[in-house]
Symmetry: C2
Subunit: 298 residues, 2 copies
């Protein structure tokens, strides 16, 4: 029996970061320094870990990062004022605000306050709309990470049936849009909690993407023989055998599908590592656009 | 044999226009006059007909319309300046620019120049992005017309498999987004020229929407027993038996599906009449929003 291929986001991400580093070096020789500003409000431990990964990712390729740490009790008004200051600063190319935010702050207001030219998360409606219209300025990070894994593993999406589980604004919906644009040319079906006969729909997929946040939701019943399975889920479950008492698992039951699927991404080490690479990619493009250049393609 | 129901966009559109007229009257008693500005560049005969339909639609419900007619040789700069003037005018609620535009003008630049608060076609990236993020300000006119036909004919979309043929920025893609949002809750598959086994995919649809611009593309092979078929196509074909020598047909072979489908929209008289009603709906909402009110729901 042929063994299922493991699509390592870690390896692909490293390959991409090498390409990005070259581009940062090129810009640097032209006197262009790339800078990312990250806003972190409050004390959420996971957010602190994510932000520190972003800082390290920047440092490793010579992108400067500035982290604005604000207390939990920050008002919406103060946060919006900080965003405006960062919008105006000529030395900053990209801005992102780590979520979740404390309850007194409306995250949508913060997103809409960020200058769309500096919106490297690609969450601003203006940038989402450019994507929807087929002319994206920035790429939504996790969806574009999924596309890069497929492309760099030799899986064309053109004419393929792609089924996406999950209609979130961060993953499922923007990925469904990207994949059906000219150039990617997939036939996309977007499934969600109201979908009926979900297993059957998933079994029609040449490429199946799980992004619903339910541990091991996708098992053998969901996967067509030789399908490619991309697992975007990151779920923490109890595991008494693990030193921490918990461990991370995806939305896919990796063991259950390994004799059916052609290839799959593991969790951790699959889509996860791609997201920061795509953020760095957008930040470099923000710097390029602000300096009158076209975007750099991956 | 049960006869296929004909879903008359003409009748539904009249019903909606009566509701809209009431709202225009309500606003009028509060001293709010609703005004639409239409820009028409050049001499395209079809554009002149469309604009005159829009003017009549406005007049019939007490919405004021202003048509700015510009010569074919208008420069992009002059057109953009006109848009800016209309953006600034306090007496104008909605602005649209009739397409096609002459080749010296980039339509995307014109769309992006329109104040998103006055963009009643819902073509501006900011408004497309709000739609994609699940919080639309305005509704894309033809897609929302399709939803109103379904809703007002008693066909719920929740949990239904909807297949859309055609990924245009005006119909297919925004409709696919709308239908998969919470509230509409359909499981949507978006097909296009690169889709393989298109008949088979279409035969999985509870609701099939054709918007590809190919006369009679959808025949009996495409339609599941008791499916609902919505035909967005408007194609002019030669017909020596017709006084004009040509006639309008849809993307669906109406005769071929009439013993299979549960219901279908005719062409003409189906989706066509809905579009201007939805434009008027958006224009009324633009006036409401500019006067500090929430949007009026249909």
């Amino acid at each position: 029996m042929k063994e299922m291929k493991i699509l390592s986001g870690k390896i692909i991400s490293e390959e991409i970061r090498n390409e990005l580093k070259k581009e940062v070096d090129n810009l640097s020789t032209e006197g262009i320094k790339v800078t990312l500003a990250v806003i972190l409000v409050g004390d959420d431990p996971a957010s602190h870990v994510y932000v520190s990964h972003k800082e390290k990712g920047c440092a490793a390729m010579g992108v400067q990062s500035i982290v604005e740490r604000l207390p939990e009790e920050t008002t919406e008004e103060d946060l919006l004022r900080l965003v405006q200051d960062l919008n105006e600063r000529k030395d900053i190319d990209g801005i992102l605000c780590q979520v979740p935010l404390p309850p007194q702050i409306d995250p949508q207001k913060v997103i809409e306050m960020i200058d769309p030219m500096k919106d490297v998360d690609c969450f601003h409606p203006y940038n989402l709309g450019l994507l929807t219209a087929g002319a994206p300025r920035f790429m939504p990070c996790t969806p574009f990470g999924v596309l890069q894994i497929l492309k760099r593993s030799g899986y064309s999406t053109s004419g393929k049936n792609v089924v996406i589980l999950g209609r979130s604004n961060i993953v499922g919906r923007p990925l469904s849009i990207l994949l059906s644009l000219k150039g990617w040319d997939a036939t996309v079906t977007l499934c969600h909690s109201r979908t009926k006969n979900i297993e059957k729909i998933c079994r029609s997929a040449d490429i199946l993407v799980a992004a619903i946040g339910i541990p091991h939701f996708v098992s053998d019943d969901f996967v067509k023989k030789n399908a490619v399975v991309i697992d975007v889920g990151v779920n923490r479950i109890d595991d008494p055998n693990h030193p921490k008492g918990t461990r991370l698992v995806g939305d896919v039951d990796f063991e259950a599908i390994k004799e059916i699927a052609e290839a799959a991404t593991p969790v951790p080490g699959g889509v996860g590592p791609m997201t920061i690479s795509m953020l760095l990619y957008n930040t470099i493009n923000a710097a390029r656009l602000r300096n009158g250049k076209t975007t750099f393609e991956l």
